[in-house]
Subunit: 300 residues, 2 copies
Amino acid sequence: MRHLQDFDVVEAIIRAGSIRKAAEDMNITASALNRRINRFEEELGYEIFERLPRGVRLNPAGELVLHHIRAQRSDFARLQSQVADLSGVRRGHVSIACSQALLPYFLPEQIARYRAEHKGVTFSVKTRDRVEAEQDLSTFASDIALVFEPQHMVDFEVILRIRQPIFVLMRADNPLAALPEIRLRDCLDQPCVAPSERYGVRVLMDAAVRKTTYRRVEPVVESESFDFMRHYVLHENALAFQFPIGLDMTGARGYVARPLSERDVAPGNLFLGQLRGRILPVASNRFLHQLATALQAHAA
Amino acid sequence: MRHLQDFDVVEAIIRAGSIRKAAEDMNITASALNRRINRFEEELGYEIFERLPRGVRLNPAGELVLHHIRAQRSDFARLQSQVADLSGVRRGHVSIACSQALLPYFLPEQIARYRAEHKGVTFSVKTRDRVEAEQDLSTFASDIALVFEPQHMVDFEVILRIRQPIFVLMRADNPLAALPEIRLRDCLDQPCVAPSERYGVRVLMDAAVRKTTYRRVEPVVESESFDFMRHYVLHENALAFQFPIGLDMTGARGYVARPLSERDVAPGNLFLGQLRGRILPVASNRFLHQLATALQAHAA
DNA sequence: CAAAAGCGGTGCGCAATTTGCACCGCTTCA
DNA sequence: TGAAGCGGTGCAAATTGCGCACCGCTTTTG
């Protein structure tokens, strides 16, 4: 759109780091680009770039402008979505930043259900840890975040929270599989696999172990991939720890899942959220509320 | 600003009701304006005006676009305000929609106090009843609303609520002036002046009278002007009813104010609010919070 | 230490876009 | 039934924006 082209210029210069490089990227001359950014700054009344010997860099005012640009883009997309909605055409795009646990079962089912009714709506699903997800929201890179134990920055607006007790994954022939509920002390004697502290499961495990014992969580394999961990326990007969929403409880996948006793380890919290104060595009907002409903049903 | 000029065109056409009239207002030819609005619609992908024989009118998509335009304008003003704030220059404009009761004492003092510290900030104070104030917020015509008993539309975000018992105004020689508190039944036998049902005072009085007696509020003079009513009681020795925040309690103005018993009439509520989800310009937001602090002190 | 390379900024001539003018087809209203 | 007012369009004029060449400056490099 025409009225956003000044914003394109600003963003291109930010990406390129200099006016000349940005001009090359945009297939125009540096002089034209230079004049456009100068006019923009003149109209705004303030410079937004620091002129450095090797290029330009945003100054604090420019940071504000950049955020404004992203917000304007997002708001215009929402307008288009709403207008399209009026015409009876259900179109739009929903972008979600979520934890790995949502990837195998929950989100595929929810997205398929939504798309069954609204074929025109497309989705992007990004795997993000709790810190990255919140950054995604505040840069308008994602509409919706669905993560465990987020940092709760001021910009994160919680739509729904559901409790998720940690489950232990193991082979069916593991002795612990006979128990309906597993104590923390029983796990520490067996080899286990776990993710890093970037992930909510590990944070909760570490906290619980520190509180109740003098021992530590010492995984024999540390991995970022929940999928990897699910498969690894089948080979070494180790233990893995995951949230139930990402698990198959039927045993059909070869592993058995048993809850960790909440006397030992606090349950995790799965947060559904969006950028505070943001009005989401029609499709995103509708899907957000479908997710909220589904999660509430899941918790009950 | 350049990137908002398409929005200027749209708003001018809306105001004028036809492309030709708008073109005249803008001192350009109708053909140029016509092409610009056509290009805008083409880029948006949807028409936003209905073409009628006598001009044009917004269609539902256009209504959405209009709201978007107002939001963009407001957001850009906020950006400029924030950037100005960075440069150490405190500038900006604060617009307030408020009930009459705030006009004589409360708001002048608050605005003067704010401007004593920030000379660059200007204000506009609009007298609005509870319905109009909320419309002002949602069209971005005002940043802040301060009214009694608003309708509470979905767009009205309450920042603070303080109780305001209704006071009776009378001449000092009125027999009721001797009482510390006045009962409703004592008022109904005397001539009184009151505003219409558009105003919170009258709404509360009507509700109370309906509940406790078979009589009705029958003012001898009905007026929209609180100032008029304050002066009228001095002439006919009638009663008037107002909220205390708009009254001089020292008696220096010639009238005496006594509270109506809360056993008879529910106290009013003064609401400080803004448009839900809107991020106010720096100056407006700062003044909003000064108001909140001052009102809390006033209530205590 | 000097030359080269890379940067933002500017004057000028030209090309692309936008505008004004004249005019069309249409509906409404006196 | 004609006049008036509306939105839309072809074409030439005017304005805007662009590329080119070049300046002054700082950093890098040999």
